[in-house]
């Protein structure tokens, strides 16, 4: 979980991120960030998620749940 939050902070170009943060509200959010998340989830968790699923997950916490349950 800590590694995950650190990685998310890096991808969203923030010092830290919270589980309640809204994904699409980050300044750095765009299709490239989305692709970077997809690549990270594939490498780190061997899971396949789509861009639409990331948006539907809404928050950083939601994204974490999505990865765990995929």
């Amino acid at each position: 979980m800590e590694d995950f939050l650190e990685k998310m902070a890096e991808l969203f170009e923030e010092d830290t991120v919270q589980l309640t943060d809204i994904i699409v509200d980050f300044d750095a959010w765009d299709s490239l960030t989305s692709l970077s998340i997809i690549a990270y989830v594939g490498e780190e968790f061997q899971k396949t998620i789509s861009a639409a699923q990331i948006v539907e997950a809404e928050t950083i916490g939601g994204l974490y749940e999505l990865i765990k349950n995929s």
Partner: protein, 354 residues
Amino acid sequence: MDLYFKDKEITGMLVILPSNEIYFEEEMENYNFSTAKSLKLKAALGLNKRRVVQEGVCASDLAIKGLDYLFSNGKLVKEEIDALLFVTQSPDYIMPPTSNVIQGHFNLKQDMICLDINQGCAGFIVGVNQAFMLLDQSSISKVVLINADVLSPKVSKRDRNSNPLIGDAASITIIEKTSNRTEIFGSIKMDGKGAFSLQIPAGGAKLPISANTSEMLEDVSGNFRSKENLVMKGDDVFNFVQAEVPPMIESLLNMAKIDKDVVDYYMFHQPNKFMLNKVADKIGVNRGKMPSNIVENFGNSSGVTIPIVTWFNVADEIKEKRLKICFSGFGVGLTWASLLMDVGPLSFCEMIEY
């Protein structure tokens, strides 16, 4: 499915590139994104400059220029061509086939086969496979494979996903029977359930061009395009490539009973540097053996990128000696296909500009 061919080889390769070059920065203001975000994209995907045709130039123009060069320099003899394959997603007409138009232009012999193939990113592999199958006929000794794509006019200038990486190009590959004993291992797979992951929605019979199809609409990411423009589901394509290509290469190497390090080069389709590096890492090959420097120099020209990556990186080497090469193309269809074969010494491997 697994494929196997023998006693055939590639003997020459010519790349035709438009001389017109566009830098990423020249078009940044077209996109609905901040400069910082666009520069981040440039760095991540490995974008810089690309080659696109001037208005009005089509795929056959590039091909004809290339054939003209080969004929007039004695690198190819008209009478020896038994089959002309034209692989494109941007044909001159819905009818007739562009291969026939080219045959007529050069007054080639009647005793031959002309065949257009609608394939994109895997179009080089599909074309070479088709050439090998034709060469099983006793009356066919030499096949000319043309890959040509002019897709830049189909991409919206305001589409940050596709516009900065699309390129136009053509290539001519000569494929022949050989008295050398050669073994070629191939693999090809298709998944039509993903047919709309890469698409130009309007312009065919299903959705003819009309006033409505030219309307520019904004997507969820802030890109503008019409139904007449190329549209790509980047995440679907990324996931498909990462999931399907590495296992295909592994099974191809197993079939040929060779270790991945024995392969001199992995000449793969060039979607962008980001995706290629991930594929190289997943297969477990040194990134140096899988060049990924085509999009940043010339753009992604669909089925032509494999000849371009080969010419750009090993032209001198492959004219001197024999190399063990793994070719792989993947994309629209969805189609993914690979070949493992020895190539060289080629009688020519060069580039001319249009």
